[in-house]
């Protein structure tokens, strides 16, 4: 069972897996608290433990982070996105699943599961944050994002049948612009059998565990840093100070380049390329961490994960590389979420721990 007591660690883990983006989980955390308090705890289930033909529906927020700060979710839009897709499919869902365990979309589905009285599936399709709907392991498995639904808090709903997951991304964004840029989406309607076979398993558990491990580091427990790196398979690549920060917005994406200078006095530098999320880290010009592996920046003193928006000149940060979920490593990964998918002419680099 997932209760209000589990939210804090989950939220810290979700901020880390947001890998610099993913939307601030603060509001999502408050929505999850209120839903768990109002509707009671949520049962966490494994996809393997559900009947293989049971319908699993996802839900997530879709819109602009700046707008969501002002138009706080009602909770009902997530429920509406699930119900409208279920109604279109003519079948009731057995469980809810997060599509993106990383950033704010880790926590909204928990509120939805609580409100609908359904269990939440301990799986997702990214186990980190990515900016677009098609960037999932389900796409690699050839599973369609559609039919998908978009809903607002007023009762407006639309369902799309789409010919590709890229088209799904385009259509959903277009609808959202008309619906106020703070909406809910339900996509990738799947059976529990498909989730068990193709999804990333135990991602909520993983998120909670890295949250607890990082909290222990923040609390200053002896050996916690080594435990955090060891158990998450991560490696600290660089400890540096932000000496340059170039932000620009193109095609609706927040792109930036971050330059770090070595805090220990060497001439080495690290450069990080960002498009909503941290995508590539270069050590003295050589790529050392590349998407889909995770690049996370932690504050040197508080060990808080730092989002791209909050980053400022002079910040002292530790750059860690975390391995992406093993489920990503299959044919088509690099074309979908590797450096070239984001326009970088760079080869993927295995994370050496």
């Amino acid at each position: 069972m997932l209760t209000a007591d589990d939210i804090e660690a989950l939220c810290l883990g979700a901020t880390l897996l947001g890998t610099g983006g993913g939307g601030d989980p603060y509001i999502a955390k408050l929505v999850a608290y209120q839903a768990l308090e109002t509707y009671g705890p949520v049962e966490v289930v494994s996809a393997r433990d559900l009947p293989s033909d049971a319908l699993v529906l996802t839900t997530a927020v879709i819109g602009a982070p700046t707008v969501i700060l002002e138009k706080i979710p009602a909770g009902t839009e997530f429920v509406a996105s699930v119900r409208s897709l279920a109604s279109y499919l003519g079948k009731a869902p057995t469980a809810i699943m997060p599509i993106e365990v990383g950033g704010c979309n880790t926590l909204f589905p928990i509120a939805t599961a609580a409100e609908m009285g359904l269990p939440i599936v301990n799986a997702d399709s990214m186990r980190r944050a990515f900016p677009q709907i098609e960037m999932t392991v389900f796409t690699l498995a050839g599973l369609p994002a559609g039919p998908l639904s978009v809903a607002d808090e007023k009762g407006n709903q639309c369902v799309f049948e789409t010919t590709s997951n890229q088209v799904a991304e385009t259509l959903a964004r277009t609808a959202v612009i008309q619906l106020g840029l703070a909406n809910a989406i339900s996509c990738y309607p799947l059976t529990a059998g498909q989730v068990a076979e193709h999804g990333i398993q135990d991602s909520l558990t993983y998120c909670t565990e890295v949250g607890h491990l990082l909290q222990a580091v923040k609390d200053g427990q002896v050996g916690a840093w080594e435990r955090f790196l060891g158990e998450s398979g991560s490696r600290a690549f660089f400890t540096g100070k932000v000496v340059d920060l170039d932000r620009r917005t193109t095609d609706g994406f927040a792109r930036s380049t971050v330059i770090l200078e070595d805090l220990h006095g060497s001439d080495s530098t690290m450069r990080i390329e960002v498009q909503n999320e941290n995508l590539i880290a270069f050590y003295d010009g050589q790529p050392v961490i590349t998407t889909p592996n995770l690049i996370c920046l932690l504050d040197c003193e508080s060990f808080d994960p730092i989002t791209t928006e909050a980053l400022a000149y002079g910040n002292r940060v530790i750059v860690i590389g975390m391995p992406c979920a093993p489920e990503w490593h299959q044919d088509g990964m690099l074309e979908l979420v590797g450096p070239s998918a984001f326009g970088y002419d760079i080869d993927f680099v295995e994370l050496s721990v």
Binding site: A64, T66, A312, R316
Partner: protein, 524 residues
């Protein structure tokens, strides 16, 4: 600079002292006094005013500025706060998070008497989320007094851009509760970010009685000296609110103390861009002034455990002060020197080695190295190991260097203002710093900072650069901010734009951009 003699009074009520200064038109300190802050702070204000006006030609005094910790203390101590009815105009959006959801229980129980989320508010486009549910507003007005509510806080989604629903709700509340009923509207209090703005509006409403007492006390004190002059309070960005505005928006005065101190120190040193490090007995606080104003923190600011979106000065604190305890652990376990974070604090005057006490502090080390002068007996520290002195000061220098480096927003060298009782610890040369200043009248920098404060106006709204050009949008924002500054009392001919911040909105086509502009000018 003015050609005719004209004085201003600046008063700052701090935790320990209430300071007052009289400043002439050229910024010179005519007279400065310091009295103890009293349990009922208005007593200290009266006393400081009485003392500072002795031997001053009262006829030349034109304006009086007050910076005070009253409202901050009221919130931190949960004392004298009004009970507030919280009305949010945003349904059906926002129902997922109730008003006061993340507040500490103790302050929520004291402050929030009733709350409701009713239909209303706007989209980012300006379209309504739902028409305002006027009947629901009337029902709330009818029920709020029964829950003990002495004031009402109204917040609508996107009201900083579109304020009609908040203004209409105000009309209805006045019809139902009478024109004098205290109501705070969120678009007048905070910027984008509904939950944080709502929190600030609730705190504002809760502070109305406290503010009214402070302001009437201040005005009575001035009247007691036959001073029929304009009274102002300082707000957290270092600019002024008229006494009338401060009575309506007391929450804007929270955190004005550090701002006044930094601005005062810079003005006394005659610089506009500088790092300021205030070294006290226990800790050192670093901030940075850009164009004469403190750089604001980007992190959410909590006041008494309540998250707000105020733009507070970006401050960095470390445990380094004149009373910081130094332990020589090298002989024992070889662990080396242990410095702080504990401190003997203000007891450094009796407990430090250099005054005959038994605790080795950073002041003793500083004296032994010749940095500290006019305090303690150099003979008492002559026997301290030279290696220890060198190592301890190397640590201090490194900490100061790190603090000043972290404060800078670029590699450009800046002057550093060393202030506070422990400023002697700061070396003459700091890496990345062009020059170290030690302003003389620092003792009253807070009051001086209040006295030199200017009027300001701000705007925070979302523009679409595809609808009209970026330049046109920025011009519009500059005009709106300048007009707001004039309304706040600024001289229309001497207004300058101090900050323009553009935050492009991700995932939004059409060049959506949040623009924040602040305009500042001296009082007309």
């Amino acid at each position: 600079m003015s050609n005719f003699p004209e004085f201003r009074i600046g008063i700052d009520v701090g935790g320990t002292n209430t300071d007052a200064v009289v400043i002439d038109a050229d910024g010179g300190v005519v007279r400065a006094v310091k009295v103890a802050t009293t349990p009922e702070p208005i007593e200290g204000i009266r006393e400081s005013l009485e003392k500072v006006l002795r031997e001053v030609d009262k006829g030349l005094v034109r304006k009086a500025m007050l910076g005070t910790t009253h409202p901050t203390n009221a919130i931190i101590q949960r004392r004298d706060l009004d009970r507030v009815g919280v009305l949010r105009l945003a349904a059906p959006s926002s129902l997922g998070v109730r008003p006061g959801a993340a507040w500490p229980d103790d302050i929520r129980e004291v402050v929030i008497g009733a709350s409701a989320i009713v239909q209303g508010g706007n989209e980012y486009t300006g379209a309504v989320i739902a028409p305002l549910d006027e009947d629901a507003v009337r029902r709330f007005a009818a029920e709020a007094p029964a829950h003990g509510c002495q004031a009402i806080a109204v917040s609508a989604a996107f009201s900083p851009a579109t304020s009609e629903h908040e203004l209409r709700a105000l009309e209805i509340l006045y019809q139902e509760l009478g024109d004098g009923f205290p109501v705070s509207l969120s678009h007048q209090v905070g910027s984008l970010g509904l939950l944080e703005r709502e929190n600030a509006t609730i705190l504002n409403a809760a502070l109305l009685s406290v503010a009214s007492r402070v302001i009437s006390g201040f005005e009575d004190a001035l009247a007691g000296h036959d001073l029929a002059i304009d009274a102002y309070l300082t707000q957290n960005d270092g600019t002024l609110l008229t006494a009338v505005e401060a009575g309506r928006f007391p929450v804007l005065t929270l955190g004005s103390g550090p701002t006044n101190s930094m601005r005062g120190a810079c003005a006394l040193a005659g610089v506009d861009d500088a790092i300021v490090i205030d070294v006290g007995g226990t800790s050192a606080d670093a901030g940075i002034l850009v164009d004469g104003f403190p750089r604001e923190s980007t992190a959410a600011v909590e006041v008494g455990g309540v998250r707000t979106n105020f733009r507070m000065p970006d401050l960095l604190s470390i445990g380094l002060g004149g009373g910081t305890v130094v332990r020589d652990a090298r002989a024992g376990n070889g662990a080396g020197l242990a410095i702080g974070p504990d401190s003997v604090g203000y007891a450094v005057a009796t407990e430090a080695v250099c005054v005959g006490g038994g605790t080795l502090t950073l002041s003793d080390v500083s004296l032994a190295a010749g940095r500290l002068q006019d305090f303690g007996d150099p003979n008492l520290v002559a026997s301290i190991d030279a290696q220890l002195v060198g190592d301890a000061l190397a640590w201090v220098d490194e900490q100061v260097s790190i603090m000043s480096d972290r404060m800078k927003s670029s590699r450009i060298e800046l002057p550093l203002l060393a202030v506070g009782g422990g400023a002697h610890l700061i070396a003459e040369q700091v890496p990345g710093v062009s020059e170290v200043y030690r302003p003389e009248s620092y003792a009253v920098a807070n009051a001086y900072g209040a006295g030199i404060a200017e009027a300001s106006g701000t705007v925070d709204r979302v523009y679409s650069y595809d609808v009209s050009s970026r330049e046109h949008c920025l011009d519009d924002a500059r005009d709106l901010a300048a007009n707001a500054a004039v309304r706040a009392g600024a001289d229309p001919d001497r207004i300058r734009i101090t900050t323009i911040t553009e935050v492009p909105m991700t995932y939004v086509p059409g060049g959506g951009c949040r623009v924040m502009v602040k305009a500042v000018g001296p009082l007309a």
